[in-house]
Amino acid sequence: MTVKKVFGRPESLCDVPNLYCSGCGHGVAHRLVAEAIDHFGLRDRTVAVAPAGCSVLLYDYFDVDSIESAHGRALAVGTGIKRANPDLFVFTYQGDGDLASIGMCETIHTANRGENLTAIFINNAVYGMTGGQMAPTTLLGQTTTTTPNGRCAEMEGAPMKMAEMMATFDGVVYSERVALYDPRQTIRARKAVFKAFEAQINNEGFGFVEILAACTTNLKMTPERAQQWLVDDLCETFPLGVYKDVMSGAKQESVASRESVGATAGSGSVKHAD
């Protein structure tokens, strides 16, 4: 009898145990990105940029060339790499503190220039690495180590919606928000990463994927409870869906897609228009 291998470690992921907490979204997100690198045969020309944040250890897990960046500067570093060598495939992998707070200026301008690279944005609604402080994406009412009474809009502002914001820039050709909470959504997330990668491969411009993920440790939740929080709370504030797709061959009016998805987000059975 011949045994056919149907599932295994992506080649561009190293065969080492990862040190992320159990239930952390980074592990799954890494896998999806690695699968995309394998699928498009990009391993030999990829440079990954990992800024400060829990995923700064990314280079221990990915078997591709990589560089560490200062907190918030991943997209500037990525711009430098890509402008110096446009043949390289460049992706950044950034947390919410990194991309939406300290690095917001770089985020907006890199998107607006339409740099031909891909930003993978892990929104876990906290600063994981530094111990669970408030992030720009922390939910209203969510307690963190710096919002002991819960985030309040009057004092701390409302959560920032990056996938929506990215869609407003002419340089962005693809922007989608996905979530890692069940196999269906994980497959959807995988597709989104593939799409954003394709945008760069085809030299179409900036691709953006916001991945809602759980930081179990700072939520102080079991992986199971954290998944439920993702569905019930995070998706409620951050509706899933494609916010922009102007890639060649795009079938869908992005607004329609967003609306149909937004209406059902949080129910656990997200419906996409595509």
Partner: protein, 362 residues
């Protein structure tokens, strides 16, 4: 003199009347600049303006970044691929870059940064200064590291030292800072805009990020969490800085052989001091000038040598005494070192320096 790099002293060739900032940009182009990233700030705007036209013509990349934070990190990204990358700025912009410069040093990436100094502190103004000497020579950002600092004193050296800076950066895998000022940036002077020597071909394919085709994946980082790796990185850097101190010091001695008093000054201050020293000689005073061209590494041995023969020193700076402390530490407490300087955009006049020379000699 040093063994690896020497200043281009006598230049033969066609003289062009050129502004310092343009000479600097031309020096970079002749060195094979691949990428420039920068944000506008006076008094260095001619550098990005000039390169925005010239660099793309030669197939290079020019990006006006959204801030100096972005420009220095774009430089870092480009440098990591093995490209020759630079930025330029002044005062507040250079302050914003310090984190990135620390990363370049920690990552051992070659890059060139030009600081056309304007007066501070704070927003300050666009007048010239040498108030960034400490920032430039002490590291400026966080951690134990040094940038290599080259201090031009003419349009010719804006060209020559910028040209050389790329070879120096590549040789030592370290950021190199050109420390000029508003006068050197804005002033027009005749200069030969031809390379002072043939560009060094320095291999980068053993560390640059090119995609891991046919080899193991590489990573460039300065965050080393395992064991005492971070401590070891610092020892490694220190070893490199020792090599730099051995090989790189550059300086100029003007009329120092028979001098009773030596004025120590760099950049614009050295130009002013040389004029004052000539006038002093005309009045029968034996005065020379010692001009450090590298500020890190400071030409310690050369100065110590002079101190064994000369009784008195005068330090002249466009600040309130920064290099002064290095000079005092080198020549020792037994030798009198006096000081004249003006901060905040004040430029010492030749007369003022001459008076200070006379006071210091007597």
């Amino acid at each position: 003199m040093n063994t690896v790099f020497t200043p281009a002293a006598q230049r033969n060739g066609k003289l062009t009347l050129v502004q310092g900032n343009i000479a600097l940009a031309e020096g970079a182009l002749h060195a094979g600049l691949d990428c420039y990233f920068g944000y506008p700030i006076t008094p260095q705007n001619q550098v990005p303006e000039y390169l925005s036209a010239k660099l793309p013509e030669r197939g290079g990349a020019f990006v006006q970044a959204e801030s100096e934070l972005a420009s220095i990190n774009m430089v870092l990204g480009a440098a990591s691929t093995g490209a020759r990358a630079m930025t330029s700025s002044s005062g507040p912009g250079i302050s914003l870059m310090q984190e990135g410069i620390s990363f370049l040093a920690g990552d051992e990436l070659p890059a060139v940064i030009a600081n056309v100094m304007r007066c501070g502190p704070g927003m300050g103004g666009i007048k010239p200064t040498q108030g960034d000497y400490y920032q430039a020579t002490r590291g400026g950002g966080h951690g134990d590291y040094h940038t290599i600092v080259l201090a031009p004193a003419s349009a010719q050296e804006m060209f020559d030292l910028t040209y050389q800076a790329f070879d120096v950066a590549d040789t030592y895998c370290n950021p190199v800072l050109i420390l000029a000022d508003a006068i050197l940036g804005q002033m027009k002077e005749p200069a030969v805009l031809e390379p002072p020597y043939e560009r060094k071909a320095i291999k980068k394919d053993d560390w640059s990020l090119t995609g891991a085709a046919g080899r193991k994946a590489r990573n460039i980082r300065s965050m080393l969490l395992a064991g005492d790796d971070q401590e070891q990185l610092n020892y490694k850097l220190e070893k490199k800085y020792e090599r730099v101190k051995q090989e790189l010091p550059m300086w100029e001695c003007i009329d120092t052989e028979d001098a009773d008093l030596i004025v120590v000054a760099f950049g614009t201050s050295a130009r002013i001091s040389s004029s004052a020293a000539r006038l002093a000689r005309a009045e029968g005073l034996k005065v020379g000038v010692f001009r450090p061209i590298t500020l890190f590494p400071f030409p310690e041995e050369a100065l110590r040598d002079l101190a064994s023969k000369v009784g008195k020193f005068l330090v002249v700076e466009m600040n309130l005494g920064q290099m002064l402390h290095d000079v005092r530490a080198i020549v020792g407490h037994d030798i009198p070192v006096s000081f004249y300087g003006r901060p905040g955009g004040g430029v010492p006049t030749v007369r003022e320096v001459l008076e200070n020379i006379k006071e210091s000699v007597s």
